[in-house]
Subunit: 460 residues, 2 copies
Amino acid sequence: MKFIVQVCFLISSVFVLSQTNEDKLVFKKIFDTALTNSSSYEMLDYLSNEIGPRLSGSLGAERAVEWGRKELLKIGFDKVSLQEVMVPKWVRGPKEFALIETQPGITFDVDVCALGGSVATPSVGIKSNVVEVNSFDELVKLGKEKIDGKIVFFNRPMQPNLVSTFQAYGKAVDQRVNGAIEAVKYGAIGVIVRSMNLRLDDYPHTGTMNYGDLPESKRIPAAAISTNSAEKLSKLLKINPNLKFLLRQQCKTFDDVKSYNVIAEIKGSKFPNEIILVGGHLDSWDIGDGSHDDGAGIVQSMDIINIFKKINYVPKRTIRVVLFMNEENGLRGAKKYASVSKKNNLNHIFALESDAGGFTPRGFSFTTDSNNFDRIEQWKPLFEPYLIQSFEIGGSGADIALLESKNNVLAGLRPDSQRYFDYHHASIDTFDAINKRELELGTFSMASLIYLFDKYGIVK
Amino acid sequence: MKFIVQVCFLISSVFVLSQTNEDKLVFKKIFDTALTNSSSYEMLDYLSNEIGPRLSGSLGAERAVEWGRKELLKIGFDKVSLQEVMVPKWVRGPKEFALIETQPGITFDVDVCALGGSVATPSVGIKSNVVEVNSFDELVKLGKEKIDGKIVFFNRPMQPNLVSTFQAYGKAVDQRVNGAIEAVKYGAIGVIVRSMNLRLDDYPHTGTMNYGDLPESKRIPAAAISTNSAEKLSKLLKINPNLKFLLRQQCKTFDDVKSYNVIAEIKGSKFPNEIILVGGHLDSWDIGDGSHDDGAGIVQSMDIINIFKKINYVPKRTIRVVLFMNEENGLRGAKKYASVSKKNNLNHIFALESDAGGFTPRGFSFTTDSNNFDRIEQWKPLFEPYLIQSFEIGGSGADIALLESKNNVLAGLRPDSQRYFDYHHASIDTFDAINKRELELGTFSMASLIYLFDKYGIVK
């Protein structure tokens, strides 16, 4: 008996060792292919430079859907389909205009852009005094008396002394999302919000905002102001609290329009009913070309099967690439995908999203139980030679979060976050801000993780 | 006895725990100061934009020395001194010119720059056929018959499928350093070398080359060619192997001139004879402003004592900041510093160099024995919350390597290397390529490591 146990132990050790060696070899093959023979950069070049901005409901978004469908067919998926979804259609209109007037005839230019979903100002703009605040609590303290008829200026900066810039974003973005609905309670006629940007520069950063249940007639215009302009306004307010701010923007919300998630599938050779999903969001904001947010995630996801084909890896499980529509201002694509999946009892055992920029990958964040996380941690030595070192429990991605169940694992790629908010939702989120190697290292990391989940499944 | 041992164990555990907690707190203070109240970025702005290029022997280098001395005095070191050293003086002269002529009158522009130390061409340039090679072995195979009278074109790219771009650099840079001296053996009249750059772009990257003992009359001109131009030349050679290449450059080596290492010191409060050195190199190449190479390392090193003063940390050991002269083309400053230190029996227990760019820090590389490395590894948990995760045995930095002894530890900061060779020795190594947060994270990492070595010394 002891002998048998020993032999079994030996066999299983040899098995584990040979598996590990095989995995190492596959990682190397994926790495070599990603860094020398992948299509991520070329695909992103096309998406960014030939299609460009692709806000939900725009012609750019329509073109992106058609491009995605055709590219995925070229890659050789078994099936590529479009999943219909109604999305909001918000249009920025002509370039916004704003200035500070410290006294009649003495003005200072500032850089602004409307927040996504905002209403327009009257065609001549709004012009009023400004109240600067750092939080919603300050609104309460100031009250209607001090705010009524004025423009509220939210100027709380992103906190610089946090390693994760996403954490800093999370602590500041309430001003952008809910600034208008909070300020209007006290009679504000408009809000301007310091851009979600850790640098001092001249680029306003847009992003979604909402009015909750506020009737249309009560909605007030909301704009982002560049960090340099925010500093300027704040300094001028200290000299002249009675200065006036003029804001003019002509954005408009139309009726919802039809759009699509793009879904490509390659059937699993052994467990076709176990689905592994990888994706990002195809829509972008309208002022850059969305290369980092989320063109990078789109092409990295699309390129994985390309790489598997090049290294002759045949997935055991069904791999689905999903290009989600409307992450930026509604998550309609994600909601539609999740509800259809639920209705059809689809078994997504693993889903991975890349939506944090095309920078050097540092690791992954997981939504999972401890059994699966323990196993994931055992995989770390495979990633470490490639400097993929951070594996943590945390969020995954906005588009896949709704797929969470007790029977699956969700993950998000975590690239270096230091530069992300330099570009995020700004006009400089463009292809020239992408480094080819960094993008490809992300593709490699994702393909390798997908390979492991495909080979080993999840712990049940 | 058992009781006493237990009590001792308890006391020592409590001690270790309280030390660790104190270290955590100091790390947090250093981090907060580096990210919210440091001078690294401002100092680099001045060095890069007001002084600019500072090749050894140039007026820029002289100004940098004077700036460094004054800045270090302002920071409040006990003593700031200049250590005289004779350095080479090589001058590029007017902009280089090159073109490809596929037939008389049909020409193609290419982007080139002289390699540092190269001789000039005749004033009308050299014009000849081109032999493309990937290695010195190929020169041997081609022999004098095929090379004599021609220009040798070294076109082996940096290997893309290596995680560390420095490793890729190490495997390609022989072409730049020794290309001329190898090619001249077979009668070549000049060499052009593919730029040490992983991207395809239009920027030639300079860098040092040498002629060994070759008498002046035998030296042939050597230039770098941008990666795009290298690809162009290679493609045209396939169509027309008889094309001609024209190169004109008017660089010149003058007699050595006097320059300086800048040395600033703050005496240790407890162990004044134990020196901890931190530094980088003050000289840069002449075609950018050397923001990454090595302005970043200079200001990070200078800023450490700034930060210690702000958090009221008084070093136990003597901290020396050294701004080395002439790393790029001679290492004369490093050699001088090492020889004077040896003569004076200076006890450098630890030396740290930052000379790998101002990008997000990933960790440190150490030259040390296993006892010290074991202890360094115990410090990892202090760094990991800040995503400083790589600690490895390896090189330190060119300027401090000569200080190696059995009784000290050397280290190099290891930032993310993916973008470094996009800028390295090129005209685009300028201040706009620096991200403030990434630079400051480097300063934090270095200050924290210096703090630990100052507090605990080295294991003997």
